[in-house]
């Protein structure tokens, strides 16, 4: 007799072949890189002054832009989740735009806002504030590309959660701000964590918008991905070592903090 308990609605057998191929397609490049790296020089490669400066800059800017994403993205996601007005309907696709936009285009767009001759940069320049090609520009570029990740994750979670708990909290005498901090946000914690992790990982890997809008000045705007791209020309082995480092950091953040949450989010929509 066949063992019972095999799911009756199981997938067709042929589906496992492309599935396996897909998995290999993801894993193989990583394996190839691990083979390529010169492990005896790995330590010195990733601790060179240029590498250290790039790594620190990346961690600092990605952290700040994640915070910025939280400050702007959490209210934005909740407004999108709770309202059905015309403005919201127009706004939602626009916020998703950076997801499909080439980052270089995002960088150019940011230049036209914050650059010396840009929409706002024009006035900022007059006030003596320069943003383009500074560390602040790196943060803005990263925030621009990672904000949609946070907003999508959180909006989905907020929609699923609904507003019943908030309603009950208000009947218990809690004003909206109290409800926000004590009910709405705690209930959205899983979505908040997954959104922040995704935003951080995206910010860490940001390249195109940063290069266009912030340039590549060592210690100021040259983040890890930019350093890797630069090293690829002169010292390919250093580039590979730094790539491994970037992958490890991203993996630690994503798997360590929110792997399961992210899985849950993508399953939920």
């Amino acid at each position: 007799m066949r063992p019972i308990g095999a799911p009756s609605g199981s997938l067709p057998r042929w589906a496992y072949l492309p599935a396996m191929a897909g998995a290999v397609f993801f894993v193989l490049p990583l394996v190839a890189m691990a083979f390529k790296v010169d492990w005896s020089r790995f330590g010195s490669l990733i601790t060179s002054p240029a590498s250290r400066a790039a790594l620190l800059l990346s961690l600092r800017t990605a952290t700040v832009s994640t915070l910025l994403c939280l400050i702007l993205g959490v209210p934005l996601a909740l407004v999108l989740a709770r309202h059905r007005g015309t403005l919201v309907r127009i706004l939602r696709p626009l916020i998703l735009l950076p997801l499909v936009l080439p980052p270089v285009v995002g960088g150019i767009a940011l230049l036209y806002v914050f650059g010396r001759l840009g929409l706002l940069g024009h006035y900022l320049e007059a006030a003596g504030i320069r943003i383009a090609f500074t560390t602040a520009a790196v943060v803005l570029a990263q925030t621009f590309v990672s904000l949609p990740f946070l907003v999508i994750a959180l909006e989905g979670a907020a929609r699923t959660a609904g507003s019943d708990y908030d309603m009950v909290a208000s009947t218990l005498g809690a004003p909206p701000t109290t409800v926000w901090w004590r009910v709405t946000l705690p209930l959205l914690a899983p979505g908040l964590i997954s959104g922040a992790v995704l935003a951080f990982a995206r910010a860490l890997g940001e390249f195109g918008a940063t290069l266009t809008f912030a340039g590549s000045r060592q210690g100021v705007t040259r983040t890890l991905p930019l350093e890797i791209y630069l090293q690829r020309e002169g010292d390919p082995e250093a580039a590979v070592a730094l790539s491994i480092l970037l992958i490890v950091i991203a993996a630690v953040v994503v798997i360590g903090l929110g792997g399961r949450r992210i899985a849950g989010w993508s399953a939920g929509g």
């Binding site: 019943d164 708990y165 309603m167 009950v168 909290a169 208000s170 009947t171 218990l172 005498g173 809690a174 004003p175 909206p176 004590r182 009910v183 705690p186 209930l187 914690a189």
Partner: protein, 365 residues
């Protein structure tokens, strides 16, 4: 504590209700799904706007669309208990109740208040649990304690017992009864359960299609319902018509109903006013031929269904001419066998006039 005055019109949902609940009184609101019960509740709690509405608790005006007054929900002091307890899952049981008490107390005061209320609803030993670890009845009792912790002047209950098993519902009902009778809060209870009405409510309001179809003391409405929903709810037969002369009602299908003079409206009621004839299914006899003799009401009906109802068989007739629920007769299984009753056959329902109450259909005055 204070009385609750409600007057709300909401064209979009066909709602047009007006009623008052005295301090210490519990009003049961009955009605089919979509009749506007929950919308009414939402208007009172300030969760839904209305085209025209006035909501007052004592001398506090919470909503007055004419004067552009709309107090936000959190300042209304109107407690709400829904079918879903909606305990905050990230807080312990006592944390939930303290959340309600924080409106008027500091942290230690809120804790004392929460402990007292948890004891009152018989949930003192659950204080440190998480909501996910509670049974349905326990969660609903904790939700009640939380609602009371905010010291509401009015308590709105929207089918609080609907999702519970028999034991859970009984435990919550007992606590609700104690709470509602102990203090002088006005209470509004939406329910589909006769037991809830009998045990918890003082008055009954029946909503039909957004309008108040009936309003009065529980005993009056259940003994002599004047609305189709009220009659179905109370399990009695109801025939609508016009009171033509004392003790006589002429129904829409021209059938004439004679009522018991003792349980019938005063003789001085002007003829031509809308009225209803109400009688219990047990008072209905079933015949194949039209019977003659003592003053009886007889009506020819077609059998739509036969169902067991306790020790009797309930013979349900097809809808009445005006679309109201079909009349019902409770007869013995022997009688069904003797008469050979079958669905689809035409028979005579006869009711002694002594068993029929005639009432005015425009309110329990």
């Amino acid at each position: 504590m204070a009385e609750l005055q409600v007057s709300a019109t909401l064209a979009e949902r066909g709602l047009d209700v007006h009623f008052t609940i005295a301090a210490g009184e519990v009003l049961a609101v009955l009605g089919a799904n979509g009749a506007g019960k929950s919308t009414t509740l939402a208007v009172i709690a300030g969760l839904v706007g209305a085209d025209r509405a006035v909501v007052r608790v004592g001398n506090r005006t919470l909503t007055d669309t004419a004067a552009r007054v709309c107090v936000p929900t959190y300042d209304r002091r109107i407690g709400v208990l829904l079918q879903n307890p909606l305990l905050f899952p990230h807080m312990s049981v006592i944390g939930n109740v303290m959340f309600g008490a924080r409106r008027h107390a500091d942290r230690s005061g809120a804790r004392l208040c929460a402990q007292r209320l948890l004891a009152e609803v018989g949930a003192a030993d659950l204080a440190d649990r998480k909501p996910a670890e509670l049974s349905g009845g326990e969660a609903q009792r904790v939700a009640l304690a939380r609602a009371l912790a905010a010291e509401p002047e009015v308590l709105l209950l929207d089918e609080p017992l609907a999702g519970l098993d028999v034991a859970g519902a009984a435990s919550v009902r007992a606590v609700l009864r104690r709470v509602l009778t102990a203090d002088s809060r006005a209470g509004l209870l939406i329910t589909h359960d006769l037991i809830d009405v009998l045990t918890l409510a003082d008055r009954v309001l029946v909503l039909e299609a957004g309008q108040v179809a009936e309003y009065g003391p529980v005993t009056d409405v259940l003994a002599a319902p004047r609305s189709a929903f009220g009659a179905r709810f109370a399990g009695v037969n109801l025939v609508r018509g016009v009171l033509t002369e004392p003790g006589v009602l002429c129904a829409a299908d021209a059938s004439v109903w004679h009522g018991n003079p003792l349980v019938t409206v005063a003789a001085d009621v002007k003829s031509g006013r809308p009225g209803v004839a109400v009688f219990a299914p047990a008072g209905v006899a079933v015949y194949r031929e039209q019977p003659h003799g003592s003053p009886r009401n007889s009506v020819r009906v077609r059998i739509a269904g036969l169902e067991i109802n306790g020790a009797a068989v309930r013979v349900r007739a097809e809808e009445q001419a005006d679309g109201s629920a079909g009349l019902a007769a409770d007869v013995t299984p022997d009688a069904v066998a003797d008469l050979g009753l079958q669905v689809g056959e035409q028979v005579w329902f006869t009711i002694k006039s002594q068993a029929v109450g005639l009432h005015l259909a425009d309110g329990h005055t």
